[in-house]
Assembly symmetry: C2
Homo-oligomer: 225 residues x 2
Amino acid sequence: MAEDAREPAAPAADGGTAARPDRTAATRQALVQAALALFLERGFKATRMSDVAAAAGLAKGTTYLHFKDKESLFADVLRGVLTETGGRRRIGRPRPDEPTRAFLLRTVPPILRELQASGRFGILYLMAREGPQFPAVADTYHETVIVPVLRLVRIYARRAERRGEVRSDALSRLPIIFVAPAILSALWNNLFGRASPLDVAAVFEGYLDLLFGPAPAGSDGPQQT
Amino acid sequence: MAEDAREPAAPAADGGTAARPDRTAATRQALVQAALALFLERGFKATRMSDVAAAAGLAKGTTYLHFKDKESLFADVLRGVLTETGGRRRIGRPRPDEPTRAFLLRTVPPILRELQASGRFGILYLMAREGPQFPAVADTYHETVIVPVLRLVRIYARRAERRGEVRSDALSRLPIIFVAPAILSALWNNLFGRASPLDVAAVFEGYLDLLFGPAPAGSDGPQQT
DNA sequence: GACAAGAATGACCCGCGGGTCATTCTACCG
DNA sequence: CGGTAGAATGACCCGCGGGTCATTCTTGTC
């Protein structure tokens, strides 16, 4: 971790307007946004600081008034995206007798679509590409995103297994199986997107059919072994 | 694509021993091997030509007697790995009445284990990381590896669906779903491998349980709707 | 042993891009 | 208006690493 953000002017007792820190904050923000876009597009190493600055409408030197170095800019970009998820996408719970399949079907695809649209999947891809070179950052991501998600998956996997909705306990044993199709199609899009894009949410829905059986006519509950 | 490999001395009518081209070929081979290892470990951009040469026990300049530039070395490395798969891993066919699950279970895990052991999954990861920067190479990989694999998947997905062994036709519609857990765990290993490695074959077996139901007692054949 | 021919070397070149800093610009205050 | 403090600039520095080439080393032949 870095955190060294080069405190831009004491936000302490300012005699006059509070306009200054605002200007500064806006500039910072512009840089972070520009950097995010470029990092997503080209990756960390391949992005030049001069380009970041230019994209933010600033000169290269200015960047270094706000960020100690390239890596700390990267850390800030990441932190921004991770916390910006911020409002903390609430997942809600399934209604007492709601089939797990129905619950997942109404809950997950919108999230996937949002992740897709907001480019948050791009971050995932970015981490996959540059993670090895920045173990600290990769760890942060692992703990902030991956572990919680898998924990959540495990909870609902157990529920589905308890209710006999799925064919084995593999989901709760290896929660990565549950997220694999969605994640992989997201990666696919960042890789072959232009050529043949996949609709991540659609893939997920198809996957649900496979796991739980296709949409039931009435409410649900086909065979339970 | 490059291919410009800088023909090392006319292999044509040599007046004397055929030893020369051998020496040359050996050196080439050493370079390719060293490059492969380093590319897998650090990625293309982050690998220095001087390191490749050193790893092959040669001086940097020598590398350029055998390869036009870094990129053409990369192309050669890739070509080597792709064709070396060479003997053409035969997949065999399921016996007439063999359940698809059983067939996959005896066929796929060994392949996965070999891919794992031989580091071929590393290539996959390498492509994921550097693909965007080298569209031509990514295309080659797409056509040489991905398309054929997905085609194969589709064939067996159809079989399983025809026989009513799986719960939906999502597999043949979106074959990526079938390979997702294995691929993603392979990528995971290249990313968090040291921390918490996954047994790719085990993940796949768990996934089979989920798709087809757990191992049947006798031979198989649960419900067909 | 002399000599040719290819293989290998490593000092060198040079552009790219991260990072610095003396200077200029802007905005506000008395 | 003069003063000042922080924001911004962009010319500059410099190491890194891809790529070159005059030179040396090896190997095989007569």
